[in-house]
């Protein structure tokens, strides 16, 4: 009897100490499922999604720097046209990288410095007129990145072709913006070395800091805040009392739908082809008689179809017929619920991990 008590207490203490250290943090055992390989999914995310996105953005932003400096060298309509084309390419390319802000990218505020809109046109004019400027300053976040380029390259662009110091300051400012853009992207991308990828993929446990949890949270956060709200909901006045047409992305070039579709594609591909759908299927997640992965895939398709009713320029669309925008928003909102409620629950991923007891 006594021995039994002692034994069970010993076993208890042993298990407690053994488990306390292993339930949390990462471990290098073999945590892989027989049916689903999380590590392979993470390798795919690193090697097929994030790294290619950085590579593409380094190329497009470098091209943008080149064409901007050519334009500074010879400010003529041809150079401006090619600068605009490279700007459009780079802005589109950015949509493939925007959801994946972690580590260094988060540290240097990459997303905010690259794409905070609406841009502050007054601030831009002041900054150019003031001459000396430091784009590292948080106060200049709304005077840089693609939205600032959008303004400078498309709103009253004739000024750019003029002679005189005002126009050349303007051109110099554009060049400086492109250099900052490229450097920021390159800095964040340089973090993804093979060693970093190894650490990233080995962190395949189930905890707050595990790669899967963080990546999925980032992914959903981006969809909800930047794709659904930023690109569609906010201009359509969903969160305000009035329409906010001037809060649309790419207000001056008017390519908002193109950017929206590029971003939608990134989210859609990430779910359909990069592991999450497969992961849900491996867990055999069926909701209301249908695979959850199929519901999500179908919802992406429904959003794409609905987006056909809205025009190329979301700002114009909001003013012309906001009902179409709201219809698109509602369709997008359905996907938030599927991702944030159904998928996160099925994968047992907390919406931003909460560190407390449950019962």
């Amino acid at each position: 009897m006594e021995r039994l008590l002692f034994l069970s207490f010993a076993a208890f203490l042993f298990l407690v100490t053994a488990c306390d250290s292993s339930t949390y943090g990462t471990d290098d055992d073999e945590p892989m499922l027989p049916s689903f390989d999380r590590k392979a999914m993470l390798e795919g995310w690193a090697n097929d999604v994030v790294i290619p996105a950085y590579e593409a953005n380094v190329i497009t932003s470098s091209q943008l720097v080149t064409s901007a400096s050519s334009f500074v060298g010879s400010p003529n309509p041809e150079q401006l046209a090619s600068l605009r084309a490279d700007y459009q390419t780079a802005y589109l390319s950015w949509q493939s990288l925007s959801p994946f802000m972690m580590g260094k990218a988060e540290e240097i505020n990459l997303r905010f410095r690259v794409n905070t809109y609406p841009t502050n046109t007054e601030l831009i004019e002041q900054t150019i007129a003031g001459g000396n400027f430091n784009l590292e300053l948080p106060s200049l976040i709304t005077a840089q990145g693609f939205p600032a380029l959008d303004y400078l390259l498309y709103a009253d662009a004739d000024q750019l072709l003029e002679n005189g110091p005002a126009a050349s300051d303007r051109r110099e400012y554009i060049a400086a913006l492109t250099v900052t853009l490229r450097d920021l992207i390159a800095t964040a991308g340089s973090e993804w070395t093979p060693a970093f990828v190894t650490v990233y993929t080995q962190n395949d446990g189930n905890s707050a800091t595990a790669s899967v949890d963080r990546m999925v949270n980032d992914y959903i956060f981006h969809y909800e805040k930047f794709l659904r709200a930023g690109k569609v909901g906010i201009p359509a006045g969903v969160f305000s009392d009035t329409l906010l047409a001037d809060k649309a992305e790419a207000l001056y070039s008017g390519q908002s739908k193109e950017l929206f579709l590029a971003s939608l594609s990134t989210s859609e591909t990430f779910f359909n082809d990069n592991g999450l759908a497969e992961y849900l299927n491996a867990l055999n997640v069926i909701r209301d008689g249908e695979l959850l992965s199929a519901k999500v895939t179908n919802q992406f398709a429904a959003i794409r179809i609905t987006s056909e009713i809205v025009g190329e320029n979301f700002s114009d669309q909001v003013i012309d017929d906001n009902v179409q925008m709201l219809t698109l928003y509602d369709e997008m909102q359905r996907l938030v619920v599927l991702l944030k409620v159904d998928m996160l629950q099925a994968l047992s991923i907390n919406v931003d991990y909460v560190d407390a007891d449950g019962d």
Partner: protein, 501 residues
């Protein structure tokens, strides 16, 4: 539930175990930074009904935790026990009432037990207050009532598992277990569907029957091993903090006194110095001898004991201070001074009545859900305080829409802007939270803009593997709903059936 005198060892072990575990709980809470995170950083706190006045006290909140910790230690060593147990109950319960975001069944269990312990003579033996006089007895009901308290928790937890979600669909374990893929050895097993069912059924059977196996002598040792294994497993699989340890220690109450004497013996042996040194010395004297004057050199003990010995020695001829006589005199003195003594019928009945009343509450409260309409898992009306542990996996999404009645102006509020992630998570799935916060938003709006606005919720939840559904009726103005409005009137209907309890 008789008054027959019983050895006090069981109560002493229970007191020590309970005090130690709760003290550790509080220490752990502080160590994890949860005092700041849960009670100092949030700007809004969700209140229990009728306890809206209980709020964190800013920096004084630390004093609450210190009080709870110190009183838990006092309970453990049995120093000024009555005062300590009252202080612990009050401070701990206050802490739990500050924000219902942190509600856990086992916190309620601790509050309940600590209240009961106030009325039990748990420090009559093996304590700083009373030393280790083996001739002390306690009425057997004081031990039996603890068995009932612990037993009901298990049994009810088992009963409520008898529902179709748990037994037929293995929910929510079918969602939770596969996520434990990174647990050594067990990780792969957790992916198997049969394991989800096995855990569900064995878990229900365990909760239902373990008490009976603990009560029956032949199965008791094995049952205790099962208790340990079960709780350690739950500790490994789920983030349930100190609860497993508290339940393991509580289960010791089912053992006979002989076991507790041995446990106390071990404790005395371990403590070669310090607080318990006198106990060891007493043990050396076979515990039968009276409290000796050499105890007076024992620091804390002498401090407590001295006045009493002096007091009692006044009435006793110094020449007669032989062992037998002295201990007898002491006993007489004690029975007069301390309440809840079996000899003192009037006082004793009072504590029995109180404990009996709490016991009735303990037995009846979990059934209150029967008086509310609608599916319990959906409305959660009567879900708390009923030993429903790990029965639901609910995930939610919630936004509010506020419309000013005068201007027609509307705004969308993301509650996450006002709350911590943890609060926001609890808010999204629980109707009383949703309503309370809707009223809070309405009053905020009133303070700034005047008229009482209409507040609508846009909410979705997914329950136990069902697809997400609209939760709160989006057409209903929550400003017009009170806590007394039946929840089925403002929630969407639950379009499914869960059978069983």
């Amino acid at each position: 539930m008789t008054n027959s005198p019983t050895s006090p060892g069981t109560l002493a072990v229970f007191r020590i175990g309970f005090g130690l575990m709760t003290a550790l709980s509080i220490l752990r809470f502080w160590w994890n930074g949860w005092i700041e995170k849960l009670y100092l950083e949030p700007t809004y706190f969700f209140s229990y009904r009728y306890f809206e006045w209980v709020k964190p006290l800013g920096d004084w909140t630390y004093v609450l935790f210190i009080t709870a910790f110190v009183s838990a230690i006092m309970v453990t060593v049995g120093w000024k026990y009555r005062l300590a147990s009252v202080l612990f109950f009050l401070s701990f319960t206050y802490i739990e009432l500050m924000d219902k975001t942190t509600y856990l069944n086992h916190y309620y269990f601790i509050s309940l037990l600590s209240f009961v312990l106030i009325w039990l003579p748990a420090a009559d033996y093996f304590s700083v207050d009373k030393g280790a006089d083996k001739s002390v007895t306690v009425p057997s009901w004081t031990i039996d009532c603890l068995k009932v308290f612990v037993g009901v928790v298990y049994f009810y937890a088992g009963l409520v598992k008898l529902n179709s979600d748990w037994l037929i669909d293995a929910q929510p374990l079918a969602i939770w277990l596969p996520a434990k893929y990174d647990i050594p050895l067990l990780g792969n097993l957790m992916q198997q569907v049969w394991v989800h069912y096995a855990f569900s059924w064995v878990g229900a059977a365990y909760d239902l029957f373990i008490v009976f196996f603990l009560l029956w002598r032949p199965t008791r040792p094995l049952a205790f091993v099962a208790v340990v294994i079960f709780h350690v497993l739950t500790r490994v699989l789920f983030p349930i903090g100190m609860f497993p340890y508290i339940m393991i220690v509580s289960a010791l109450v089912f053992f006979p006194t002989a076991v507790h004497s041995r446990i106390l013996g071990w404790i005395a042996e371990i403590r070669t110095d310090g607080l318990f040194s006198h106990v060891k010395r007493l043990r050396g004297k076979k515990l039968s001898k009276s409290v000796n004057s050499d105890l007076r050199t024992d620091g804390l003990f002498s401090h407590v004991k001295q006045p009493r010995n002096e007091k009692s020695s006044k009435s006793v001829n110094p020449d007669l201070r032989t062992d037998g006589y002295f201990s007898q005199a002491k006993k007489v003195w004690r029975s007069k001074v301390f309440r809840a003594r079996p000899q003192d019928a009037k006082q004793f009945n009072w504590s029995k009545v109180v404990v009996g009343a709490v016991l009735v509450l303990h037995l009846v409260l979990p059934w209150r859900y029967l008086t509310y309409p609608g599916e319990l898992f959906w409305t959660e009306e009567g879900y708390r305080f009923s030993w429903r542990v790990m029965l639901m996996e609910k995930a939610g999404y919630l936004n509010y829409k506020i419309i000013d009645p005068d201007t027609g102006k509307r705004s969308v509020v993301n509650p996450g802007d006002y709350l911590t992630t943890f609060q926001n998570k609890q808010l999204a799935t629980q109707p009383d939270f949703i309503l309370e916060f809707a009223h809070h938003l309405a009053s905020l709006h009133q303070q700034i803009d005047g008229p009482l606005p209409a507040v609508y919720a846009e909410s979705y939840i997914a329950l136990n593997g069902r697809g997400s559904r609209v939760y709160v009726n989006p057409e209903i103005n929550l400003s017009e709903i009170t806590e007394d409005t039946p929840r089925i009137e403002w929630l969407m209907p639950f379009e499914d059936s869960i059978y069983g309890l």
